[in-house]
Symmetry: C2
Subunit: 393 residues, 2 copies
């Protein structure tokens, strides 16, 4: 037994050697990167004896204008470049190395998340907010990727969708409330489950009693897409922004297909008090319009850094037809929560402030949450952990 | 509308610029990589004006001993390195760049698959075998990641499992046959669905009428693991081989929990004629032993490059206790298919030949498939497309 295992292991090392980092057979130090210390500081390491300069970039460094900041790493005698951060607050962070000007993944960290057309290494600093994003020893829900019929847009296609069902769903007969959670521009049905850590956040909030068990539906808001890049018949293409028809009302109209599918396929409570809709950026725009397109359908609405347009831009967009009237109807019909969250430095801050003024003028109630930072997944994960506990109470 | 979209798009470009490739704002050529030509040749491109040498490595190049081969790329005036292959046969391939000795991902290709502790870019050459691995315009099944109770091993834990249900499963009342598909050493419940392209292969085989609709169960064969790396409470750790208890009979014993879970949770046909079990490498070892541990349970058995041990190694391994007797019982009970596939250059070729001799001696029938190549996912995807059409007929 041992012999075979040793042999298989040797073969495995050869394969790692081949496709992985080069150090294993060379007596070089085993690289650990990132190494998260107990005080929250993090050490990054990258073996590149011949590189002239290795920099670290990440969303935990002070930004450089629109760009995340970067710092120079230091090389030791073994050719390992390293950098240790100040103690970081508990959260999920992204980073990459820049090796002689070229962006490079960390070969010692297989955890990466795609955001549109780029891929970033990630890590979690535990002990606070980051614990919501970690898999903990708690009951876990189920994550499904499936397909539904969408005849209500001009493309009339099968579309891919990601759905979270809470722990206990499969073994019971209870019906559950449904939370529709929408991605932003450039995102797709993989965005919230990967970048957003939805299943981890829900598992943890439900286990701690902070949130009610619920079904979370992560649809694809780009009506021209069957599915996320790589998951459709378009093949393994380079992702782009897929702008056509994303912000002109088509998705809002086609959204009835999502609701119909979910309510026929899953054990749900099909009433207003047990439906929520929220989205980030473009998904906030979708949530805003969906919640007024479908009167008396949602008691909980969340706009996370929503791409709300100012008046002059609204004129030419069919989605805004009858805006004031339907908003007034939404107000008159009543709802339990209209939640608006935005970061202080978000480029959509002003548009959101103008929208709040509009709601104030209409005396349409809402809850406002202003966070630090800008138009980032750091904020959207944070908003999700804050919004979900408010639902279906 | 247009203004906002333009603004959002500009912001998006800034973000791509930041985290993505550097060329966008510099007037450099937009890089397409890999570019798959109609004759099956493939051009790879990598922008690195200051690099001294960029090499391409991939599983489509002639191997260099145990290592995949590599070739030097050529730099043009714009600092873009490129290499065009000979026409490749239709398949799914993996590759990486080696930039001045450092392995690097292709920044223009977001499609990557993790194999144990390394990550590789992938692409598909269409027009043949590769079409089985592509998402086509056919009905799609559903892929679930869920958790089941596993009290039958010493760890008594919740364990994560990946399950494919065929198109039509959710909307009907039919019961389905079940195919248990097991990964190799260093793999986990993500291996077959990601590296193995199981959902694409099943969708395509079912759509073309070559395979019967079936449920495919991809469990985790490492009894000490709750879940794949990054999906358990161990956090985002560096994956290793997780050797403890993987090849000593523990998983085979605990496998009853998998069957129990699947047969209680899904609409299955719970009889021998509608159960199959197969696995690759260590998973072939598991399939071999599971199929004799559970007498009269499986009519279809598949050993893909199975890690079969020769006699002297068997002596010390408890899993082989009563080997000949239970194999004889398996033969006497009867089965429909015992399928053995292996590549001509696989390091387990000899062990498999010896096992076939043993079966010959016992007059225990099997189907033998010898392919080109070695212990690779190229072969395991191929075996899956050949094995599945033989099931439940």
């Amino acid at each position: 037994m041992k012999k075979l295992v040793v042999f298989l292991f040797a073969l495995f090392l050869l394969q790692v050697h081949t496709y992985g980092q080069q150090a294993i057979f060379q007596g070089a130090p085993q690289i650990v990167s990132p190494e998260i210390h107990s005080d929250g500081s993090v050490t990054f390491r990258f073996q590149a004896p011949n590189a002239g300069e290795v920099r670290l970039t990440g969303d935990f460094l002070p930004p450089d204008g629109w760009m995340p900041g970067s710092v120079t790493m230091e090389k030791n005698a073994e050719g390992v470049w390293s950098y240790t951060t100040r103690p970081l607050s508990s959260d999920l962070y992204g980073y990459a190395f820049i090796v002689d000007g070229l962006r490079s993944m960390d070969p010692n960290n297989v955890y990466m998340i795609r955001d549109v057309a780029s891929v970033t290494n990630v890590f979690i600093v535990p002990g606070g907010q980051g614990d919501y994003y970690s898999v903990n020893k708690v009951p876990h829900g189920t994550v499904l990727r499936t397909w539904y019929d969408s005849p209500s847009d001009q493309y009339e296609q099968k579309r891919r969708i990601t759905i979270y069902t809470p722990p206990g769903y499969e073994n019971g007969k209870d019906k559950y409330p449904v939370f529709y959670l929408l991605h932003g521009m450039g995102g797709d049905e993989e965005a919230w489950i990967n970048l957003g850590r939805t299943s981890q956040i829900l598992d943890n909030l439900i286990a701690s009693g902070k949130a009610k068990p619920m079904i979370v539906v992560m649809s694809n808001g780009n009506v021209i897409q069957e599915a996320a890049p790589g998951e459709s018949s378009l093949g393994l293409y380079k992702p782009g922004m897929q702008l056509d028809g994303t912000m002109d009302g088509q998705f809002e109209v086609a959204f009835k297909d999502v609701i119909k599918f979910v309510e026929s396929r899953f054990r749900v409570i099909p009433r207003k008090s047990d439906r929520a809709v929220a989205g980030l950026s473009m998904g906030g725009f979708h949530a805003l319009h969906i919640s007024r397109y479908y009167p008396n359908t949602f008691d909980y609405i969340g706009l996370f850094s929503a791409a709300i347009m100012t008046d002059e831009r609204q004129a030419s967009n069919p989605v805004y037809a009858g805006f004031d009237k339907t908003l007034q109807a939404q107000k008159d019909n009543g709802y339990k929560l209209y939640w608006i969250g935005i970061g202080k430095t978000d480029f959509l801050y002003k548009a959101n402030a103008e929208y709040r003024q509009k709601l104030d003028k209409m005396q349409m109630p809402y809850v406002y949450r202003e966070s630090e930072g800008g138009h980032t997944w750091t904020n959207w994960r944070l908003y999700l952990t804050e919004f979900v506990p408010l639902l279906f109470k």
